[in-house]
Subunit: 319 residues, 2 copies
């Protein structure tokens, strides 16, 4: 069924949650009207401040996100939350258990919360999340919080979709090397040591400070990522996180960094969409008899995968 | 400098580690001779049994891999190890700390160990690892152990490159929901609860058994993934893991599952290489002035990312 896109977008602008939900479903599901929706949203975007929150399981991301929502709502801001769940690539379902913690905001018309499962194929997540952010932006959210489990490559990519990236840690979550292995330590503009009422919080903050070289001198005007200690479950330190975010935002705006980041993000987004489109064409090409036939020849040792890929690409681009 | 590929391949077949290292570097580095190397390797592949080992940081993957190497060496098998480190996408370097545990095998000519860092771009890892596996296969390894940190999408993809996937757990590594979130639980053909001398090992095994529905009845002939308890640091239970692997291999061979898996893997590999090639063309096309110009128009709200991607793709395929 075709949707009246201009009407839906107008309703989303008025803050109607069902219209927002419908738009996100349209962009998530690669609807035939996807392009129409994206074209309608384009002139309405750019107003939202996008904050990424990432960290290993157990650091208290959902609780921290919820506390930030409360803080921003007190300041009168409209808030969108995109919670990205790395579900199993095989079952396709998201584990929404800890979304329940967000339920306190469920009846607040100034908050829109959406969970999104990662897809089972490469690039699936990177493809859908930026579009959902655009919907929330166009719907008039002042702040969009994107919460991800920051352990894999695709999660790091999502974090890079944000204007400001917050990396959350908690005391006793494993030693520094293990954290660094997860590949998320270097992406933070703001670091939060949550559960700071537990033993080891100061040690975690110190170790982080050391690993990030925060004690070293920097060029004047460079951003020095702050480390904020919080107990999100009791809203302790959350105002300090908001203050750090606003400071980072102001710093980016002053120096043109925000426009640069957004341009880089848009370029990456375009590239991802283009690659996804080409990938789909390969799938169509394969059909998949052709790809299967190539695969069998590879298993038999008659063909190498590069020669097989050349055949596929030639069929696509008419080389 | 051009390399004498046939000579290098012949030396690798003789088990010369420097030739193997050189070949992996050639396929990793996207050398101009990459296609020549892959073509030369193709008829020599298919002999190796590829075992993927994955699990969260701290479960003892390196120790388990090392213990498996010892067990296979005792049985006279030549073993290749590919250790995939999810390094930071920004620094590009792999953290090789725990590779040191493998040093006991460093002087054994029947063992080839290679570390590989994940790349900073989508698909980078998925692209390089299968080629390195092909080199080890062609070099005459009877068994190739691929060790990855199984937390992100790309690690799951690597695990899917294996003939048999081993998922490692350890007691007290977080509750079941958190483990399931990591998205690795469902990919195992064999499960190992390592550090089984610690409290909670039985509970972890029981919980796993429950989550996987292993107690439920299955169709006759279906594979029922075993759960093996080990203390890899003392080599306890390692022979049982090898026995479980061999049993799975025999089961796959009997039922034609091995050939099916390998064909699916090859098809996926071809697709990934083709997409990477197309992606590179986009990068070349952009050059990157064109992509940057599109990105600026998106940030200004003049264009949406899909329309921009259409422009890029049209330039590529001549639509």
């Amino acid at each position: 069924m075709m949707v009246d896109v201009p009407q839906l977008v107008a309703q989303a602008r008025e803050g109607r949650p069902r219209a927002v939900a419908r738009l996100i479903s349209l962009v998530e599901g690669a609807s035939p009207q996807l392009r129409e929706v994206m074209a309608a949203l384009a002139p309405l975007t750019g107003g939202a401040y996008v904050v990424g929150l990432t960290g290993s399981p157990g650091v208290g991301k959902s609780t921290s996100t919820s506390a930030l929502v409360t803080a921003y709502r007190k300041a009168g801001r409209r808030v969108g939350v995109l919670a990205v769940d790395p579900s199993s690539p095989f079952s396709g379902g998201a584990l929404l258990g800890d979304r329940v913690r967000m339920s306190e905001h469920a009846s607040d018309p100034g908050v829109y919360i959406r969970s999104m499962a990662t897809r089972g194929h490469l690039g699936g997540l990177a493809w859908a999340a930026p579009q959902a952010i655009r919907v929330l932006d166009a719907a008039g959210c002042d702040v969009v919080l994107v919460e991800t489990v920051g352990v894999g490559q695709s999660e790091v990519e999502i974090a890079s979709q944000a204007d400001t990236s917050v990396v959350l840690l908690a005391p006793g979550m494993g030693d520094g090397i293990q954290a660094a292995k997860a590949g998320i330590l270097e992406i933070g503009d703001v670091y939060v040591v949550n559960k700071a009422d537990r033993d080891g919080a100061d040690a975690t903050a110190r170790e982080l400070n050391h690993m990030l070289g925060l004690g070293e001198s920097r060029a004047p005007g460079d951003w020095r990522p702050p480390i904020v200690k919080t107990v999100a479950a009791r809203a302790q330190g959350v105002d300090e996180v908001v203050a750090a975010l606003e400071k980072h935002r102001a710093w980016m705006e002053e120096r043109g960094v925000l426009a640069e980041r957004r341009a880089r993000r848009a370029a990456h987004e375009v590239e991802t969409i283009a690659v996804t489109a080409l990938r789909e064409r390969i799938g169509d090409l394969g059909g998949d008899r052709r790809l299967d036939a190539l695969a069998e020849r590879i298993v038999a040792g008659e063909l190498d995968p590069y020669a097989a890929a050349d055949e596929l690409v030639a069929g696509l681009t008419g080389d």
